[in-house]
Amino acid sequence: MQTLTQRLANPTRFMELSARLLPWISGAAAILLAYGLYLAFFASPADYQQGETVRIMYIHVPCAWLSMMIYGLIALSSFGLLVFRHPLADVSAKAAAPLGAAFTFLALLTGSLWGKPMWGTYWVWDARLTSVLILFFLYLGLMALRSALEDESAAAKLTAILALVGVTILPIIKFSVDWWNTLHQPSTDFTSTVDPSMRLPLLVMAIAFTLLFFAMHLKGMRNEILRRRVKALRTQAVAGRDRLAAQAANQGAAE
């Protein structure tokens, strides 16, 4: 009895399955996103304190959630690559890194846009902001390391090692930033309860963004697999041409 991950180890089977899944995930993401945006911008009340700016939250919170989930996914894929040598693990990690960096950047950007009217400044050295910023740096490190290495299989493994180091150190970073923050300013309490009228749009948006990510991730993985196939075919073609040329040269020498 093969598990799902074992069956997906065959790229062709993965391509078939993902081709069948992708329209459904993209469709669901589009519908939920439209519904969520409608709820967020028209059907939900403005906050009694924050006014209309509270609507930024419906974009900001899903991005922040994804920024962490995607790093978790990359760490899981890296583990799958290093321990089980799953052939799709690296494809998954590679496709997820830029998406994760983009969502983290969006979380920082929307947060700072919200901060301007609320806190009076675009950037505060708040504990959460700082740890998300460092998470963003970790994503950049992953992408930079991969792009700096030419050998693809070595790049895959080295990036995986870095991702696992990052996921080990992230809790320590989070802890130390929280500690540092209490040195400088009293921590802000964000954990107050969310009103039910805002909870539904937030939930819909969170699910929509997660589906959106998975749609883009699957598409990215498919592109990566196709790119690798093209590369393999090219190498084969060049090798074949060289072999033919060598044969022709040999025949010429024999005659």
């Binding site: 740096f137 070595a154 090692i161 696992l164 180091v165 320590i172 130390s176 500690w179």
Partner: protein, 221 residues
């Protein structure tokens, strides 16, 4: 164990006799710290308030400069391949090399730090704590740095990439190093920050060699 000590003393002797290796890091440390007052103004009150932070950041940057020395030279002349086939597991090889980096960079920088503290008008009472925290914190700098050095061993523009990879990992060391020195202002005073700093170093000593050795194995195949 014998080969471990042999490797350690070889790396230390090489760093000492090569000339420039230790001196450059110390010189860089001195120049960065003396540029700070030029950039921030000569106000002694301000300088003494930010002295701990400036010293720690300059120390991290100075140590960063010499990180690529850990593996690069030995990889280029093939020593690393010999070490990989030798009796010592690669994990211990990286322990010896990181330790040598700490002895030749971390300790000199830690000893230099109070001297530079004078330039920044650091409170005299903070001197013993400064030396203690830099000594306790710099192992984390060397052992976490070894991960970055191993990962970027074969890349061309390794130095900048190394900084991008390693500096975020130094955040906890930096925070607790500074909070121990800045006059016990922390939530639980100097003792707690110092102990956490030591704990971070211990974690780095375990984590660094494992990750660095894995990275070396990938590249030495």
């Amino acid at each position: 164990m014998k080969s471990f000590w042999a490797l350690l003393s070889r790396d230390v002797i090489l760093a000492v006799r090569e000339g420039g290796a230790i001196g450059t890091a110390l010189g860089f440390f001195l120049v960065v710290v003396s540029l700070m007052p030029l950039g921030l103004g000569p106000d002694l009150n301000l300088l003494s308030r930010i002295a701990a932070g400036v010293l720690w950041i300059a120390l991290l940057l100075a140590a960063l400069l010499s990180l690529n020395r850990i593996f690069e030279a030995d990889h280029e002349d093939g020593t690393l391949d010999v070490l990989a086939t030798g009796p010592l597991p690669l994990e211990l090889v990286t322990v010896a090399k990181s330790l040598a980096h700490w002895i030749t960079t971390g300790i000199p920088l830690a000893i230099m730090a109070p001297v530079l503290g004078i330039l920044l008008n650091l409170d005299l009472a903070a001197y013993p704590i400064l030396v203690a925290t830099t000594l306790a914190g710099t192992p984390a700098v060397s052992f976490l740095g070894a991960i970055g050095a191993a990962l970027t061993m074969k890349t061309r523009r390794g130095g900048l990439l190394l900084a991008l990879i390693v500096l975020p990992l130094y955040v906890p060391t930096l925070i607790f190093g500074i909070s121990a020195v800045s006059a016990g202002a922390g939530p639980a005073g100097v003792g707690a920050s110092f102990l956490i700093l030591a704990a971070i170093s211990l974690v780095a000593i375990v984590l660094g060699p494992l990750a660095a050795a894995a990275a070396l194995r990938v590249q030495l195949q």
